[in-house]
């Protein structure tokens, strides 16, 4: 949040650009520029170009140029719109849960008490776990035959028989969101904690002198002070949720039926199962544009002081 990228001191700014510095900067920057142009910018532009062709790997020798037909095909596909809806729903559930849980954790870790350092170290455990292992772990927890969720709920008498959790279309998305939230919460909590620490302590003591109770201090000082951190976490996690793929692959493969068929999964199916690279690219491009707009907002926040 204190990312004041590009903020130079005034005196420095006033100095004239020396020819040596200009040349040195170019040489120092060149490797990065070459790499980013080659592996990021060019592929994204090329992807747009591909999306204008009817490119199917099942028919590699005839690749007609079709203008925006792939986009029309995508927009006319009812499965696209239902995936948009499911992606939105998944994102809303995940981001809300991440914000709430991360805020609670940040408040806890903002207190001084013995063992706090141990807790913050443990917070990094979910963050570090690879998504594939995270998916494997939750798939086993949700398992209909021998999983921990069934076992626990049965022992606590919440259910009277083992359930087929991931097979229930009404619950699938929420269960995947739960696995996603568990892994994303640490980063969100760390960022919110930085936000909490940046609120000046005098504000709290002044409010206490004025007779504000704990709840009112929370509502009138903590929440407004956390606004920038909240926004940052919200936008970032929204981007992550929209594009998320790994858990859908491991846990459900888009199923049951189409209950967890989200946009990222749709891109995968179009490109690598139907081998239709044209429509796959168009879809990926639509997703990229949506996240780019969100990201633009984020960049403006991060680079505000440029």
């Amino acid at each position: 949040m204190s990312a004041r990228i590009g903020a130079l001191p005034g005196a420095f700014r006033a100095a004239p650009v020396s020819r040596y510095d200009q040349a040195a900067a170019m040489w120092l920057l060149a490797p990065m520029l070459v790499v980013l142009l080659a592996v990021a910018v060019f592929p994204v532009l090329y992807s747009f170009w591909v999306s204008l062709f009817d490119l199917k790997l099942t028919r590699p020798h005839r690749v007609p140029f079709v203008w925006f037909e792939n986009y029309a095909i995508v927009f006319q596909d009812p499965l696209f719109w239902s995936s948009v809806w499911r992606t939105t729903w998944f994102t809303l559930m995940s981001v809300t849960a991440i914000l709430v849980i991360a805020l609670l954790i940040a408040i806890l870790l903002n207190e001084e008490f013995p063992g706090r350092r141990f807790l913050s170290a443990m917070l990094l455990v979910p963050w570090a776990i690879p998504y594939v292992a995270n998916g494997l772990m939750w798939k086993w927890i949700y398992d209909s035959g021998y999983g921990a969720l069934n076992g626990l709920l049965l022992q606590l008498d919440f259910i009277d028989k083992y359930m087929f959790w991931l097979g229930d279309p009404d619950k699938t998305l929420a269960l995947i969101a739960n696995a996603f939230v568990w892994k994303e919460v640490p980063l969100a909590a760390i960022l919110l904690l930085v936000g909490l620490k940046s609120i000046p302590a005098d504000l709290y003591s002044a409010a206490r002198v004025d007779g504000a109770n704990l709840w009112r201090r929370f509502v009138h000082i903590t929440l407004p002070g956390l606004r920038p951190a909240f926004m940052l976490v919200m936008i970032y996690e929204t981007m992550m949720a929209i594009r998320h793929f790994d858990l859908f692959f491991i846990l459900t493969e888009g199923g049951p039926a189409e209950a967890s068929h989200v946009l990222a999964w749709q891109v995968y199916v179009e490109t690598f199962r139907k081998l239709s690279f044209g429509t796959g690219s168009a879809l990926a491009y639509i997703m990229a544009l949506v996240t780019f707009l969100l990201a633009f907002w984020l960049i403006r926040m991060l680079g505000r002081k440029l």
Partner: protein
């Protein structure tokens, strides 16, 4: 009284926190050392009564103890015989993951450190432009890169080759690396730069002799992030790898999860092995990671 209440509340909250963060992992570890009769019991055996390391042996001693269709059928006391013949692919896959991750880390440093120094400390025409450029490449979603990468890699004949992963992982790591390093270099005083230049150091010497030694914390953070990102990456590896020659750890582990004939305890053991290196790194270097995440604000 007030203090007692606070302590009780903190204690309860800490316990709840630890349960949320660690219970799923504890269950994963517990399941990985259970015998077949325990892992298929209802309700679950939370704590294994006779823990066994058979699954781990099947992975690490796979060469000595070939698992074939026949030996699998004969059964293995711990797992009931449901150890896949692909168990021995996991160790080579981890080597692949390691090679890719180390190469990506090295390339990130070579490319990122000079660029970050230039953007943070040198005044030149095009400076803010290059910062915006770097920031905007940070937010390209990996899923948008899949199709073009696949076509390039196909054309270059790099499918099923570790090189394809190293190249593509640069796209998802370099922008973040540069971002963290720029934030850190900016926090170091400009006077150092001037002093070194007055002493006759070139820009490159200034960077290598003055700033790099001072930037160690952020360099550690960058090394860890790039390493973990490469080690954990799944989507691109799924597209570009086909055989043992290039399959990384996540790909082999993911294949276990979709095979219903494999023992659950074996799948969990594979999960434990996948989890140990990144978790150990993260917990040991906690301080660097938290400060890196904070400086970088977001991981992208």
């Amino acid at each position: 009284m007030r203090n007692l209440g606070r302590n009780l509340l903190l204690f309860a909250a800490s316990a709840l926190f630890l349960a949320y963060v660690l219970a799923p992992v504890a269950w994963l570890v517990s399941s990985s050392v259970q015998q077949e009769s325990e892992i298929t019991s209802r309700p679950p055996q939370w704590i294994p009564r006779q823990p066994t390391l058979e699954n781990f042996e099947a992975i690490f001693a796979a060469e000595a103890k070939q698992v074939t269709y026949e030996t699998r059928r004969q059964g293995d006391p711990a797992t009931g015989g449901f150890i896949p013949s692909t168990a021995r692919d996991l160790v080579p896959a981890m080597w692949n993951s390691l090679i890719v991750a180390v190469a990506v880390v090295v390339l990130n440093l070579v490319v990122g450190v000079p660029a970050a120094y230039a953007m943070a400390k040198i005044r030149f025409i095009g400076r803010s432009g290059s910062i915006y450029f770097m920031l905007s490449t940070r937010v390209i979603p990996d899923i948008a890169l899949v199709v073009p990468f696949f076509l390039f890699i196909h054309k270059l004949g790099l499918l099923d080759h570790l090189g394809s992963l190293i190249i593509t992982y640069l796209a998802i790591t370099v922008p973040f690396t540069v971002f963290i390093l720029v934030s850190y270099f900016e926090s170091l005083p400009d006077e150092l730069d001037k002093a070194a230049r007055v002493d006759g150091c070139s820009r490159l010497q200034t960077l290598l002799r003055v700033y790099v030694p001072l930037a160690t914390p952020s360099l550690v953070a960058v090394v860890l992030f790039t390493f973990l990102t490469s080690w954990n990456e799944f989507l691109l590896a799924l597209m570009f790898t086909q055989t043992q020659a290039s399959q990384t750890m996540p790909i082999v582990v993911a294949a276990f999860t979709s095979d219903f004939t494999i023992s659950f305890s074996f799948i969990n053991a594979a999960g434990v092995i996948a989890v140990i290196p990144p978790v150990v790194l993260a917990v040991v270097f906690e301080r660097y990671i938290v400060s890196g995440l904070t400086a970088g604000a977001v991981k992208g």
